[in-house]
């Protein structure tokens, strides 16, 4: 395809080609189209251009989804899903146990690699207490049910219930905030950061200051001292100055 096409592509033709590529044409229309595609090189170039246009649209959309997929990564899922290796399935409990041991060894190794940051994290981290639940007949029934799970320490279950609600309200700050802090409470700082990012990006959110605080803690847990400091400067949390001091005195 050329940088500045030598052909005109009118709206009707753009529509027609996009319908072909999106499989919207009937069999007869399709064969007429195919025939023209074979015989007309200029038309072929137009089709190539529209194909790239549609692929670009889809790619822009899928790129936005990747962080949501990423937030669902769980160590055990990622390692055990080895569909092409049936042997693993036969000994899956053994495999699961091995994964658990490896994960714990990995965690121990990771922790011992950044002892100062970890110590600070443990000293300052206190899970968000959550919102009061009324368990009334409101539309928020599912949200509140998950909040009960969260408060009873079943963070995975809470995330599992909150997450589908995001589909309709992707930018909802309350949902993003609680999914983020639930991930952090579940020792998944990478996922926590993904969701808390969306809250800190919304300047009017009542959760903004707390989101900065927990994001700073998540980054500390990841061993990202410098990034944690940047987040911390934006929170209004009462322990802000104390933690700032402590982080900057890490050698």
């Amino acid at each position: 395809m050329e940088k500045k096409p030598s052909y005109d592509l009118h709206e009707e033709e753009l529509a027609y080609i996009s319908e072909y590529l999106n499989d919207e044409l009937g069999a007869d229309e399709r064969s007429v189209f195919d025939e023209r595609l074979r015989d007309d090189p200029v038309f072929e170039r137009k089709v190539e251009e529209v194909r790239a246009l549609l692929v670009g649209i889809k790619e822009a959309n899928i790129a936005e989804q990747l962080n949501l997929f990423h937030a669902e990564l769980q160590p055990e899922e990622a390692v055990i899903s080895t569909s092409s290796k049936p042997l693993w399935q036969r000994i899956r409990w053994l495999a699961a146990a091995a994964v658990l041991v490896l994960t714990m060894v990995g965690l121990w190794f990771f922790r011992s690699a950044q002892p100062q940051e970890q110590k600070l994290f443990s000293r300052y981290y206190k899970a968000d207490p959550g919102l009061p639940t009324l368990m009334g007949t409101s539309d928020n029934y599912e949200f509140e049910e998950a909040m009960v799970d969260y408060k009873t320490g079943d963070f995975r279950k809470a995330i599992g219930k909150w997450y589908p609600l995001l589909v309709e309200n992707r930018s909802n700050d309350t949902l993003n905030y609680f999914i983020g802090v639930a991930y952090l409470a579940n020792s998944q700082p990478d996922s926590a950061v993904v969701f808390l990012d969306k809250v800190t990006a919304a300047p009017t959110s009542v959760f903004q200051s707390d989101a900065y605080w927990y994001k700073a803690l998540a980054m500390l847990k990841q061993g990202r001292k410098a990034d944690a400091l940047m987040q911390l400067r934006r929170t209004e949390h009462h322990a802000k100055d104390s933690l700032l001091n402590d982080i900057t005195s890490i050698p």
Binding site: M1, A52, I57, I62, S83
Partner: protein, 189 residues
């Protein structure tokens, strides 16, 4: 542009990826992350590097399937290709960071390098579309995303926006046209 010259069975992995079945994409994303992450962590990278490189590689593989440059026979094929693209991307990244440890490089990047000029033009065009998509109005983005990515019908979209089906259709073409004009105005690379 290269494209599959034959019709694929409806349940093939390629067909499901081409039609952007979210469940399939998510499953492939989740199933293959750990292998590349392990490689990157073992080769002087961190968790953020792993995520960025993996996402870049995942999109590159997705695109190559969409335009028929790569047709995986099954999940194993997909996984092997994704790993190759991801490793190559990480090696390139390490090369850029000269002061850091280098991994030995003994393989050519045959997997995600496009040999012909036409393929490069296609990539440039798609990149330009992705870039200009952000400058499109929010309503157009929403409409095109729902129709082409989430595969909602015009009827569903019309209901959502309180339009008639005919005006949903017209608006969709208007948005496509607008996006194309942005791409051509800004120039493809």
């Amino acid at each position: 542009m290269d494209q599959p010259a034959f019709r694929l069975p409806d349940d093939s992995l390629v067909k499901r990826i081409i039609s952007d079945e979210q469940a399939v994409l998510k499953q492939l994303y989740i199933a293959n992350y750990e292998a590349l992450e392990r490689y990157i962590l073992q080769n002087s990278g961190g968790g953020d590097d792993a995520k960025d490189i993996y996402q870049e590689a995942f999109l590159a593989v997705w695109r190559n399937i969409q335009i028929g440059r790569f047709l995986p026979r099954d999940e194993g094929d997909f996984e092997a290709y994704l790993m190759r693209v991801g490793k190559n991307k990480w090696i390139d990244e390490l090369r850029k960071q000269k002061n850091r440890y280098m991994v030995p490089v003994d393989e050519r990047h045959e997997s995600d390098v496009v040999s012909d000029e036409r393929g490069e033009e296609t990539d440039d065009y798609i990149n330009a579309v992705k870039k200009q998509y952000k400058h499109l109005g929010a309503r157009c983005r929403e409409l095109l995303g729902r129709f082409y990515f989430r595969k909602q019908s015009l009827r569903e979209i019309a209901a959502e926006f309180a339009w008639t089906e005919a005006s949903a259709k017209n608006n969709k073409y208007r948005c496509l046209k607008q996006l194309r004009e942005l791409v051509l105005k800004e120039g493809v690379k």
